[in-house]
């Protein structure tokens, strides 16, 4: 609608400020959305990386990072349940890491049996896998600076035990601010001081002929003292803990909501000011026979023009910014659909912002056209 477009751009300064306001709101919503998506993904990343159907953990474990040692008979009993085709173990503990230069820091050490999953970051046992030894330790490339290593392989200390860091991996950067180190289950228990039969998490794969829920039920009856969760249940539990119980998710969501409200206020102010400035024109339109729909469409179009242009700018700004943020926040994650999905609330925001203005335009008396 030409009238809508011409009216809104007539005051270029105000129009620019409005579009920038929407741009900021959209940028922030996309960025916060990426933080939330990344946070959710990181909170259950290692659980999702396993190929297991069921996880057994100590009673009350809230998230992957807080496991405690299980009774050794748990694994033996679980292996004997009908439908269980394979068991594996995972453990995780915070450890003290010391570089050849003598620098020390805390790391999150994760050990896993090789059968827990193809995507699970554990050194391969076969010699053909790039020459990495089974007792090697792996770390994520995003933690390179923190690891303080100049070359690989590197001899380091983990909890006063000698260890060999041999390879960098990708996709498992620090989540809690401390780097992850990955090694075999046997190696990890040695560094952590566990017994060789101890297990923190027992992972089970269920045979094709059995329902996972049935096996889970069976396990719960046989092992009432532990938590028996499907992979998705444990992943969900871990995500809920980190986002809701810590308040981190709430903080991220709050920022996104605030961004929405900022955009709403900026657009509504501009559209309202514009409408009131042009209220006589709306009266003229109505006197000339413009319907209520015609009039409302003009105001709504103005709001959506600001919304569309601001959204495009916000998208253009957000994509490279998230790319840069990855160097600071390795777990940030922007799936391809996230920016596109964020356009919907931004357009809704603009439509809502125009409500007061639409109301004013619709209620103006056409009879005022004859007043001087």
């Amino acid at each position: 609608m030409k009238l809508a477009w011409q009216n809104i751009i007539h005051d270029r300064a105000r129009f620019s400020v409005t579009v920038l306001g929407v741009c900021f709101a959209v940028f922030l919503m996309i960025f916060q959305g990426s933080l939330l998506a990344g946070f959710l993904r990181a909170a259950s990343r290692l659980i999702d990386a396993s190929d297991s159907d069921i996880w057994i953990a100590s009673r009350g474990v809230q998230a992957f990072e807080f496991g405690t040692v299980l009774d050794s008979r748990v694994r033996e009993m679980a292996a004997g349940i009908p439908g269980v085709v394979e068991t594996g173990r995972v453990c995780m503990a915070f450890a003290v890491y010391r570089t050849p230069n003598g620098t020390q820091q805390v790391v999150a050490l994760v050990g896993a049996d090789p059968n827990v999953g193809k995507r699970f970051p554990v050194p391969n046992m076969t010699e053909s896998a790039g020459g990495t030894s089974p007792e090697a330790v792996l770390y994520d490339v995003s933690d390179r600076k923190q690891m303080d290593l100049t070359s690989l392989p590197a001899e380091v200390e983990i909890n006063r035990h000698r260890a060999s860091i041999e390879r960098e991996i990708e996709g498992y950067g620090a989540f809690l601010g401390v780097p992850f180190l990955f090694t075999s289950y046997r190696n990890a228990t040695r560094y952590m001081g566990f017994g060789p039969q101890d297990a923190m998490y027992v992972l089970l794969r269920v045979s094709n002929g059995y329902q996972v829920s049935d096996v889970q039920q069976n396990l719960r009856q046989r092992l009432p003292e532990v938590d028996v969760l499907t992979q998705s249940e444990f992943a969900h539990k871990s995500r809920m803990y980190w986002t809701m119980k810590t308040g981190a998710g709430g903080a991220i969501l709050t920022a996104a909501v605030l961004a929405f409200l900022i955009g709403l206020v900026v657009v509504s102010q501009t559209i309202y000011a514009n409408t009131m400035e042009n209220i006589e024109e709306y009266a003229t339109l109505k006197a000339l026979g413009a319907s209520q729909t015609f009039v409302a469409r003009i105001v709504l179009s103005q709001a959506l023009i600001c919304g569309v242009l601001g959204s495009i700018l916000g998208l253009v700004a957000a994509v490279p910014s998230i790319g840069y943020a990855k160097s600071l926040i390795p777990w940030i994650y922007a799936p391809w659909w996230l920016p596109a999905v964020m356009v919907v609330p931004s357009l809704l925001m603009c439509a809502l912002a125009s409500i007061a203005s639409v109301s004013s335009a619709l209620t103006v008396e056409p009879g005022r056209v004859f007043r001087a």
Binding site: K2, Q6, E281, T284, L285, L288, V369, F370
Partner: protein, 209 residues
């Protein structure tokens, strides 16, 4: 005190009627009622034989859309649109499905000698040119009734006479019904009938020769 009392008037099809009177005599109120912008407390307003008093607002809007248009003293052009787009809005309101509305708007403006002003905004036009654009906009969609409120009040003698001629031609050539409210005595020469109001009542009604 009512703005109009005991007023009973008929405006015949294809005539130009001049309504005169001092300030406060009820001229604008009369025009507002004829244009379905106001409803009388008593009595009935008929437009093309149909009573319009009791219609809902959307129905009155439709009447204005199809049958009635306005020309204002203050022109009331859309300041951010060119002359051509101003007239095109008239088509957009009254004939939204018309694909040739830009072309028809151009033809109307050419008819009123504004061929070289098509792409100028109202603030670049003289008062006479603005009123011609306003008339062109009012005629978009071919409404049979044109109501003009002091259309020459802001214009000099030459421009004012030009407007009188244009509206007179609309009656003669297009058979439109035109009602002009004005203090300007020049209109007598162009009107078929002159009605004089005073204190809300018809003081005099005379057919012009």
């Amino acid at each position: 005190m009512p703005a109009l009392r005991d007023v009973s008037l008929t405006f015949e099809r294809g005539t130009l009627t001049l309504v005169m009177g001092p300030s406060g005599s009820g001229k604008t109120t009369l025009l507002s009622m004829l244009g379905c912008l106001l409803s009388p407390d008593e009595g009935t307003v008929f437009v093309d034989g149909a009573a319009v008093n009791q219609l809902t607002e959307p129905e009155k809007t439709t009447i204005r859309q199809k049958k009635i248009s306005f020309v204002f003293q203050a022109f009331r052009l859309f300041h951010s649109l060119t002359a051509l787009d101003n007239v095109a809005v008239g088509f957009e309101i009254r004939d939204p499905g018309e694909p040739r509305r830009m072309e028809m708007a151009r033809e109307l403006l050419l008819q009123f000698g504004l061929g070289d002003k098509l792409h100028q905004e109202p603030n670049e036009l003289s008062p006479g040119e603005k009123q011609r654009v306003a008339i062109a906009r009012a005629l978009a969609g071919n409404p049979p009734i044109l109501l003009a409120d002091e259309p020459t009040a802001s214009l000099d003698a030459k421009a004012g006479k030009n407007i009188c001629e244009i509206l007179r031609n609309q009656v003669n050539e297009q058979g439109r019904t035109v009602v002009v409210v004005s203090h300007d005595p020049r209109w007598r020469e162009f009107a078929d009938r002159t009605i004089t109001l005073c204190d809300g009542q018809v003081e005099q009604e005379a057919k012009n020769q």
